[in-house]
């Protein structure tokens, strides 16, 4: 697709959304059998699946910590997830995304409960449409809860961007490609920011407004994450009662 003339017209974006509207989200909890916890997360055109293993033994052994668990996060894009085939395996971008995503989740995990063990989070991007790292964090946070890892709270993430000079919530691919800024944020429900990155161009005031917008988006996602977990586990309890 070449650059469209206008990305936003009369306050309506190319995909019909309002500036402060998230893309549709679909969450399924516990979709994998072998993993201790898992989550499938659709965020507009993004399709990601997260699996959590652990706490389990650390391999290689030298990575283990005597006073807490190690958290490992692997963000990986499937070679078919993007328009031009991506060479399989980790590249510099995915190593960086893995690092900041891990750091976005670590503060809410009670790592000190599990010394000498590993908590492994694997995020596979099956289809990418801008915002894969935020989708990955949202999925991973649910998968951690599904695995029964003790956590202080969930982490929710979304991005704010600027298109044609207007701040908008949750960029899609075209808006990301032709927009002027991208500001992914992850936060806890009490407003502590655990991930923030930015590229593009924002004035000081735009940045501050954008951050508030991201906060509203994250809170909305947090409610959906909670609802998805409640749905799975409340139906399980009801099922047990009926037996």
């Amino acid at each position: 697709m070449s650059k469209p003339e206008k990305l936003i017209e009369n306050g309506i974006r190319l995909d019909g959304r309002k500036p402060d509207e998230l893309r549709p989200i679909k969450i399924e909890v516990g979709v994998l059998n072998r993993a201790d916890g898992s989550c499938y997360f659709e965020f507009g055109g993004n399709k990601v699946i997260a699996a959590v293993y652990g706490p389990r033994e650390v391999h290689p052994r030298h990575q283990q910590k005597s006073n807490s668990a190690v958290v490992r996060y692997r963000y990986n894009m499937a070679s078919f997830s993007v328009e031009d085939r991506k060479r399989p395996g980790p590249d510099r971008r995915s190593i960086e995304v893995s690092k900041v995503s891990r750091e976005a989740l670590e503060p809410v995990i009670f790592q000190e409960y599990f010394p000498r063990s590993a908590i492994d989070i694997y995020v596979e991007v099956l289809q990418a449409d801008a915002g894969t790292r935020t989708a990955g964090i949202n999925a991973a946070s649910i998968a951690l809860a599904d695995a029964g890892i003790p956590m202080k709270c969930l982490v929710s993430a979304c991005a704010v961007g600027k298109i044609d000079g207007t701040l908008v919530l949750d960029l899609n691919k075209d808006e990301d490609n032709y927009g002027q800024a991208d500001l992914p944020v992850a936060m806890t429900p009490d407003g502590n920011i655990t991930l923030i990155q930015m590229d593009g161009n924002l004035t000081k005031d735009e940045f501050k407004e954008g951050l508030e917008m991201a906060k509203t988006g994250c809170m909305a996602i947090h409610e959906m994450q909670k609802a998805a977990l409640m749905e799975k586990y409340s139906s399980q309890i009801e099922g047990e009662n009926n037996e």
């Binding site: 190593i95 690092k99 750091e103 503060p107 502590n192 930015m198 590229d199 161009n201 000081k204 951050l211």
Partner: protein, 259 residues
Amino acid sequence: MSNEIIAELRKDYICNLMIKGEREDGRTFDQHRELTIETNVINKAEGSARVKLGNTQVVVGVKCQPGTPFPDTPDQGVIITNLELIPLASPVFESGPPREDAIELARVVDRGIRESQSVDLSKLCITPGEKVWMVFIDVHVLDDGGNIMDAASLGAVAALLTAKLPANRYDLGEDSPVPMRNVPVSVTAVEIGGSIMLDPSLDEESIAGTKLTVTSNQEGEVSAMQKSGIHPLTTEQINYIVDIAIEKGKEIREKFLVI
């Protein structure tokens, strides 16, 4: 963050000073260490800079050569930024392929330059679709005294500002400067026990919960940002860092990096 091991005593000392509003080297919380930038230090490179920021030392070399453009941007030049944490710079750096710390540093330096559109990539085009200038920015960290991020990005910008495209060597006409249209400056702050300090020293960086790097352009706008480290930040802390990074960035730009 850093893998540096730091004595509990030293950690307590820095934290106690912090409570009194002091830092171990006598700086205020919003004060940088002494900064010197020398340019044209490597004759073989097309542009170069040596940056000393307190005890941190980096050398940045820019090399330019013709190459093929990426298929999706046939009429634009290419910038590639590399940073290595070589074992010479610190007892905790190991040889081998770059690990996540080094990759993150390089990518944040790159992002500051790319997103502020400081290099005019369209002017690096020689023949659309066939030949463009490739600009390689290589950062060599010589001494890790903390805050490699800012030293590296200041060095990269300073080196680019002095770099010349060696057109003559490749029979492409006269040599010309690398086309620059903006001067991004990155400023890094750390959060220690709820306080924000600019330009962390090695010890401060080692005990800090979180680092936030903000790169601003000469219009005083934010071009890039990166949070690194596991401790969360509040909105107020982030907004404060953005404000001060823009202000300090302007001072550094006016003093050291004139186009």
